[in-house]
Amino acid sequence: MNGINQGDAHRTIERVARESYGRLVAYLTVHTHDFVSAEDALSDALVSALNHWPQDGVPQNPEAWLLTAARRSLIDVIRHQHVVQASEPTLVLLQENPTEATSSTEFPDERLKLLFVCAHPAIDPAMHTPLMLQTVLGLDAARIAQAFLIAPKTMGQRLFRAKTKIRSGGIPFEIPQERDLQERLGAVLEAIYAAFGIGWDDMAGADQRGRDLAEEAMWLARVLLQLMPSEAEVRGLLALMLHCEARRPARRGPDGRYIALSEQDAKLWSFQLIEEAERHLGEAFTQGRSGRFQLEAAIQSVHAERARTGRSDWAAIAQFYEGLIRISPTLGTRAGYAAALAEANGPEAGLAVLESIDPDAVSHYQPYWAVRAHLLHRLGRTSEASDAYDRAIGLAEDPAVRRFLLEKRG
């Protein structure tokens, strides 16, 4: 064994773990419904790979090797639990074609079922995304806890509870029926977008956690698109994330300063990503069924036009927001609509939209106060503006955003 081979083996394990983790967990749990055992078995298999591959060389089919090792470990565990009788069918299943698996990757891809299980209505919606990140991507609880701003121990417990519920609660591992499909798919998309949103909001500073999570979310969306190529909203979600991602290099100045979208240098945007986003969005529109993520992507698409035309078509943006409010009247949508309408029809129009929102709902909602401050400032209502800026500053988590608002406030 030499150092280079060992390094190669480690890199291969890392790559296989990333690409195959969800496939393997899905395949191992689809019959047992037991995430905890499947994940334990898979981590045993990965440890075993770390021990064997550097010496024996990387197997020709690493994924199948891991599956065989994980199955073996799972069978040991099940035997050990003395539930052989009850698990007889499972054991038979797990032992099916044990040799064939080492020579072929042709085991069914069950990740779609896994995604639907993670976002099942019987599971606390707050846990949909963490569960997905863990079971499909293999992120550990401590890392997920960072992103969600929850104590690592608590996140571990919540994940465990959710998995126990899946094992014992009879949540089916299946792709929902046509009549439930849109709603259930909506929950899956929401969960993926939540991961992206957290990654996006927390992208500040030297911290890499946000960036990674945004990438994981795009990975999930691509997996989902592979599995459901004809669902327009899946493409809409991917297009939305690609558009945001395209602007990453322009969101911060060289000194880490926050730069608002309207002040970004469009030359810094990634045209490759914009083009890919546009391709997916165009494809989604031809697939017929409109939806929330396509509308959000359409808004971003209009923003992206500025790179070509040099101006932003705020009236078009406001119109897409109106459509969005009809399907998804969230605080974020309404604040975004207010900002767009202010650009299109003047600050009074935007302020009127903000005033129509229940004040109790926005007492903790930072973007509302940032938009409000900006509009009051434009109207010359200086002292009210400065109060609103204070609220926005006080609710901001990102130091770069805080600095930006402090400067605006003056």
Binding site: L149, H364, Y389, D390, R391, I393, L395, E397
Partner: protein, 123 residues
């Protein structure tokens, strides 16, 4: 449920207290307090003087031991605390993340002991 946000400062952040009233860092703190009050979660708060002004007392084997400075000799020192009334620790962590102290020092979130326990504690 009440939570304390225990705010730990580095020496640099303690030094910033001497800055001018218009300093953006102090502006961020004022805005943060305002947001806490407006959100209706604020119960109380106090800042502590710089750690060098502390004196630590303990009794060991019946003898008094008095020491200059704070209890623990660490880089970041307790600088103040804010008490908040919140529904859950999740909400407390959110407010801790928004605290200007979290981006250059650290903020520990600790639930306050329930009223009855506190009474027992103080005799």
């Amino acid at each position: 449920m009440q939570f304390a946000l225990l705010i730990y400062h580095s020496p640099q952040e303690f030094a910033m207290r001497k800055n001018d009233y218009n300093d953006p860092h102090l502006g961020a703190w004022r805005a943060y307090y305002k947001a806490l009050v407006e959100a209706g979660v604020y119960v109380g708060a106090d800042a502590l003087e710089v750690p060098e002004t502390g004196t630590t007392v303990r009794l060991k084997e019946g003898k008094r031991r008095v020491q200059d400075g704070p209890y623990a000799d660490t880089k970041e020192q307790l600088a103040g605390f804010i008490t908040l009334e919140l529904p859950s620790v999740d909400a407390a962590l959110e407010w801790a993340a928004r605290c200007p102290g979290a981006s250059i020092g650290a903020v520990e979130v600790r639930p306050l002991a329930p009223e009855a326990k506190r009474r027992g504690f103080s005799g």
